[in-house]
């Protein structure tokens, strides 16, 4: 137990509490019987799995934000005329009337006045500075609204409402809001900015989120089963077996306990399949056509979907075929992608291959319609 606790931090690791952000990735769970207590009861906090979602999204900028970011790249800050006012940052629509604004853009700044501010004592890796800085609402000279942006100051004592700040541009500019930052006017230095080429029409945003998901007890038992080379389902009403179990019987609407866990066979029947010809997209790792099968384990009431088949020739594969799961060696089994989601459940990366048992096929009219 103690060893497990040391190996797997609690739901909120100390690193997160200190505000140092998600840099510290939890170690992935591995086959380790110490995850189970002596009584076989899994404590939820002992099975946290860390997920990182990260994708470079793009933004089509449109007629106002496009020129605004193009100007930032070129060392200028633009606002938009809206009636008698100048809005900065500029907007596509009049915030009062909803009318579409003509893209009548005017240069503002580079100096302005801090109207409000807050001090960021412990920046995260995504902040504009890695040392303490201020976020401030800056009303740029010539603008009637404030822009929230970063002010690089020597310390909190250097910040005050009403102080004058001036824009500074970064050496490397990409046409993003991060191309600029502010400093107290006295700290500002003159810059010579060479304009870039072309218009900035699409921006890229690497958005990432790292979070820890702690498995529910039934999901932890299911994951532990996979690490142990077993398929653990749960018996629900009508003597049907769900795999993975949901921890409750969705049809009878009652909670299930560990007593309802059932170890299923490692043999099953092919219910359906598809042959995937990989299309190219970001993150795609497949290059050759491969089989993805729907397999119902013997005794189970629902099938395992999207099971990779690499060892059986495409033209020999068929519905009704009998297969057996051959598990990977214990040390190589991983359940990183097993989570509490039952809609698209995973069996982790524990099966080496599905091997034909050599038994006669199940007749097509004897197959269950459920998938």
């Amino acid at each position: 137990m103690l060893a497990a606790k040391h190996a797997y931090p609690r739901r909120w690791p100390e690193s997160t509490k200190r505000g140092t952000g998600p840099d510290k990735i939890l170690p992935p769970p591995v086959a380790d019987s110490s995850l189970l207590s002596q009584q076989g009861v899994v404590i939820m906090a002992e099975f946290p799995i860390s997920f990182t979602l990260e994708y470079p999204y793009t933004r089509t900028l449109g007629p106002v934000i496009g020129p605004f970011l193009t100007a930032l790249r070129d060392g200028r800050i633009l606002g938009i005329r809206c009636g008698d006012r100048v809005l900065c940052p500029p907007m596509e629509f009049d915030p009062d009337t909803g009318e579409t604004l003509r893209p009548d853009l005017v240069e503002v700044g580079p100096s302005g006045t801090v109207e409000n501010w807050t001090w960021v004592a412990e920046p995260s890796r995504k902040h504009p500075f890695q040392e303490p800085f201020a976020f401030a609402q800056v009303k740029l000279d010539g603008a009637d609204t404030t822009m929230t942006h970063a002010v690089k100051a020597v310390g909190q004592a250097a910040m005050s409402t009403g102080m004058r700040v001036r824009a500074q541009f970064r050496e490397e500019r990409t046409g993003s809001i991060g191309d600029v930052y502010f400093v107290p006017e006295d700290d500002a230095r003159d810059q010579s900015i060479a304009p870039g080429e072309g218009e900035v029409e699409i921006s890229t945003h690497l958005i990432s989120l790292t979070y820890d998901d702690t498995l529910y007890p039934h999901a932890a038992r299911y994951a532990q089963g996979l690490l142990d080379g077993k398929f653990i389902g749960q018996r629900i009403s009508g003597d049907k077996i769900a795999i993975p179990g949901k921890g409750y019987d969705a049809l009878a609407r009652v909670m299930l306990t560990e007593a309802d866990d059932v170890e299923l066979a490692t043999t099953g029947t092919v219910l359906s399949y598809t042959v995937l010809t990989p299309v190219k997209y970001r993150g795609q790792t497949e290059t050759e056509p491969y089989l993805s099968a729907t397999i119902i384990l013997d005794g189970a009431g629902q099938s395992l979907t999207q099971q990779d088949i690499r060892n059986i020739p495409l033209d020999e594969f068929r519905v009704g075929m009998r297969l057996r799961a051959i598990f990977k060696p214990a040390a190589e089994r991983r359940v990183d992608d097993v989570d509490n989601d039952w809609m698209y459940p995973s069996i982790g990366d524990v099966v080496e291959r599905w091997e034909p048992t050599g038994e006669p096929d199940v007749a097509l009219d004897e197959l269950p319609e459920s998938m």
């Binding site: 089509t60 449109g62 629509f93 029409e201 299309v279 993150g283």
Partner: protein, 384 residues
């Protein structure tokens, strides 16, 4: 219901791989076109109902808040609906329900997707790269349908060719292939066996909007209203022992409730045309059966006989459907919006002559979310 609801304004953007407008500009364009069609302005709108597919598609969390300016929603109630791929359908139904409840007089409903800003494949696999994609999930079910129904493989090709030809009549469609042949579909690369490349929906940017109002509003409208006769939504778990994803119980229950409310007893005869959510060609016969429009095993025969062509006795996806335009969040709304176009007589080159009663259907998730409505040119159509 306290009030009747009717569609009096329809607005769409062009659907395309990447539209050179901001997300704000996109929803704005569809909204303004719907208002113009209804001869109204944002000032006439009491509430806004907005829908889109999961936020992970573009990585903008709760976009309904940042889109308030573009939709002139500041100071007004704005509701966000989220039911995966069926969301556009559920969104329109929610707007309709707000009118029927008597809460508001006129509601603007908008659905959109800016797919070019993100990656559908990645977002739908929960942010896991290397997933099999939607086709990888649906292909085994299609194979099961083919086995159970005995449908010959050319049925899928036929649906795809029909929808792409229909799309060529729709100026908003993303994909239009007026001269496509069944042979071309058959010869296109196999992506998720048995699904060929030309049997797969595109990935589109686009937005759709409707103005939905009560009887008094319908009376004032400058163009014919599409009366909402009945609507229904049903959901089931995506996975449970005994579930049949080829013919989900929720899909049948949704259709039963819908037909009952509308007074329809023989859907194939009493409904003039339908827009069904068909992202992969085979879903046309699957939904014809799965929504009890025809008996089991008859869906593919309807396709084979040409019954679902424009000019057939039960035209399906006259606009080209999801196979021609797939701005996911808006795709479901389009399935409900196009039947309104049909009964208003505003469907242009893909108008079904004399369409009086039309069905719209959207589904989402692993075939477990359903949203449907029936609209008519008459407020109280009777059926024989």
């Amino acid at each position: 219901m306290a009030e009747r609801s009717a569609v009096v304004g329809i607005g769409q953007t062009k659907y395309d791989r990447c539209l050179p407008v901001s997300m704000d500009g996109l929803v704005r364009q569809a909204a303004l076109r719907a208002l113009e069609d209804a001869d109204l302005t944002f000032a006439d709108i009491d509430a806004i109902v907005i829908g889109k597919a999961p936020d992970a598609l573009e990585g903008v969390i709760m976009p309904e808040l940042s889109l308030c300016d573009a939709l002139c929603a500041v100071g007004k109630p704005i509701h966000r609906v989220h039911t995966a791929g069926s969301v556009g359908g559920s969104t329109a139904i929610s707007a309709s329900t707000l009118i029927e409840s008597g809460m508001y007089n006129t509601v603007l409903t908008v659905a959109y997707e800016k797919q070019s800003d993100g990656n559908f494949m990645w977002a739908l696999s929960g942010g896991r790269s290397g997933g099999a994609g939607a086709g990888g999930s649906f292909a085994p079910w299609i194979r099961n349908y083919m086995r159970r129904s005995g449908a010959p493989e050319h049925i899928g090709w036929k649906v795809a060719a029909k929808d792409r030809r229909n799309g060529a009549k729709n100026p908003y469609a993303h994909v239009s292939q007026a001269d496509i042949t069944i042979e071309a579909v058959k010869e296109s690369p196999m992506i998720w066996d048995p699904i060929h490349f030309l049997e797969v929906c595109p990935s589109s940017d686009g937005a759709a909007a409707m103005v939905i109002t009560n009887a008094a509003g319908a009376k004032r409208a400058p163009r014919p209203p599409a009366w909402v006769i009945a609507h229904a939504k049903r959901t089931e778990f995506g996975v449970f022992p005994g579930r049949d994803p080829v013919k989900p119980v929720a899909g049948m229950e949704c259709a039963r409730a819908l037909f009952k409310k509308a007074g329809i007893t023989d859907p194939r005869r009493q409904i003039d045309c339908a827009e069904l959510y068909v992202p992969f060609s085979w879903f046309e016969p699957m939904w014809l059966e799965g929504h009890l429009i025809c008996p089991e095993g008859e869906g593919w025969r309807m396709v084979d006989s040409g019954a679902t062509e424009i000019g057939g006795d039960f035209p399906v996806n006259m606009s080209g459907g999801v196979l021609c335009s797939n701005p996911i969040g808006a795709s479901g709304m389009l399935r409900l919006l196009e039947p309104a176009n049909q009964v208003r007589g505003t469907a242009g080159d893909y108008q079904v002559e004399g369409a009086r009663v039309a069905l719209g259907q959207a589904y989402g998730g692993p075939s477990n979310y359903f949203a449907m409505w029936i609209v008519s040119s008459e407020p109280n159509p009777t059926f024989e």
